[in-house]
């Protein structure tokens, strides 16, 4: 099936992935444009090095192009899959390079922030989601937020965090669990949760 230029941008990710699977470069381009900014932002925040972040994103998307690299629509959205691949590779890169600069990445980094005027419907919705996640993180007790951010964005293991914060490893795991459970509640993913 051939699509008029522009029409492909109305397709859902899952439909695009089928076309990508069949070798459609135009479909790949749409998938890239939809998710590369989130992927690059995550990699850059974690690694704090633009070149490393670019390599991670490039490898992740080329992997998607070549083979789908294990994407299974039954296990989640294209976005969550791409970000999961990028997160895993960023953690690997940070542990390999010993780079923990991601924790110190300032908002005004080398990379260009998305312009505020870029307010398409999708972007407005994304910013609402982003605001909700930031608010939810702010609602967490600081000790729970800290271990979650050190683990997810810093790429540290619970043992490393325990040493850093002078806590027992079990305490770190407990804070992770409590924090994620509360986040889930704040994000409305569960209507009733014991916290």
């Amino acid at each position: 099936m051939r699509f008029r230029p522009g029409a492909m941008r109305n397709l859902a990710d899952e439909e695009l992935m089928q076309l990508v699977h069949d070798g459609d470069v135009q479909a790949f381009e749409v998938v890239f444009d939809r998710h590369a900014s989130a992927a690059f932002s995550l990699a850059y925040r974690m690694c704090g090095r633009r070149a490393v972040a670019e390599d991670i994103v490039q490898d992740a998307f080329l992997s998607l192009w070549r083979s789908g690299s294990g994407y299974d629509p039954r296990r989640g959205s294209v976005r969550s899959w791409v970000l999961s691949v990028v997160h895993n590779r960023a953690v690997d890169a940070m542990r390999r390079l010993g780079a923990k600069a991601g924790l110190d990445v300032p908002d005004e980094g080398i990379a260009e922030r998305l312009p505020a005027a870029d307010a398409t419907d999708a972007e407005v919705e994304r910013r609402d989601d982003a605001r909700q996640v930031r608010t939810a993180l702010d609602e967490l007790p600081p000790d729970q937020r800290q271990v979650i951010e050190l683990a997810y964005f810093g790429g540290f293991t619970h043992n490393q965090i325990a040493v850093m914060l002078d806590l027992a490893p079990g305490t770190v795991k407990g804070r992770m669990r409590l924090g994620l459970t509360k986040l889930r509640f704040f994000l409305g993913e569960e209507s009733r949760v014991t916290i």
Binding site: D33, S37, S41, R50, D59, R66, A130, A151, L183
Partner: protein, 229 residues
């Protein structure tokens, strides 16, 4: 999500689910937890819910534009990289097709492999493992998660026009069969390729250099041999 830690193997396993979803378990712990996950529906549920939550975390950060040169590089690479054939649409080799793989692969194994990368990966039916062995001209690792594999290669030589890397799988000591996966490497010699289907029953994942478009029977010695045991 239950508020109680369930007990597995005499210990509470509930708290590992959150650390696992955050990627914060030590490699050995993560491996053990993945094995545990296969038989623990409660932890499976916990992990699925926690991963849904961690999936929202990237939204919390500042959003950056994709560097234009990155977009150009990726799209240029895509336009010149052959798309891996979809396993489902790739016809399996006909049993009646005449080929001599045993001769080719037998000779290949006896010969010195071009890239001499050999991996030995422990797989315990759905477990997870990664092991990398460096070689003089490249390296590769087979990342196994939940019985599925991703082959990540680095510093492999780029192939001349008309040639491509092709992935094969071997069951037991049987003749390797094509997976339908063809790939090229980036200018830095890297590639990440999924092994189609489950690794259950697979004894080795192999890669050879073949004519563009791939072949149903290998024509050259494998450059990567990943034994899965």
């Amino acid at each position: 999500m239950s508020g109680d830690d369930h007990i597995a193997n005499g210990r509470a396993c509930g708290e590992d689910a959150a650390a696992y979803a955050l990627g914060a378990l030590e490699p050995g712990e993560a491996e053990a937890f993945r094995r545990h996950l296969r038989d623990c529906p409660e932890c499976q549920k916990d992990v699925a819910e926690f991963e849904q939550t961690t999936g929202a975390l990237p939204d919390a950060g500042v959003r950056y534009q994709v560097p234009k040169d990155l977009r150009r590089r990726v799209l240029a690479e895509v336009r010149t990289t052959p798309k891996a054939a979809a396993p489902a649409s790739r016809r399996p080799p006909s049993p009646s097709r005449s080929w001599r793989p045993a001769l080719v692969w037998g000779g290949a194994f006896a010969a010195v492999a071009i890239v001499a990368v050999v991996l030995v990966v422990a797989l315990s039916s759905g477990g997870s493992s990664t092991r990398t062995i460096q070689a003089s001209t490249g390296s590769a690792e087979l990342q196994i998660t939940g019985g599925h594999g991703d082959l990540v290669v680095r510093r492999l030589p780029a192939l001349p026009a008309g040639r491509i890397y092709e992935m094969w799988v071997q069951r037991g000591s049987a003749t390797p069969t094509p997976t339908g996966t063809l790939f090229a490497v980036t200018s830095r010699g890297t590639a990440s390729v999924g092994v189609p289907g489950s690794l259950n029953g697979i004894s080795a994942v192999l890669v050879s250099q073949e004519p563009a478009g791939g072949t149903l029977a290998p024509t050259s010695a494998p450059v990567i041999v990943a034994h899965v045991t």
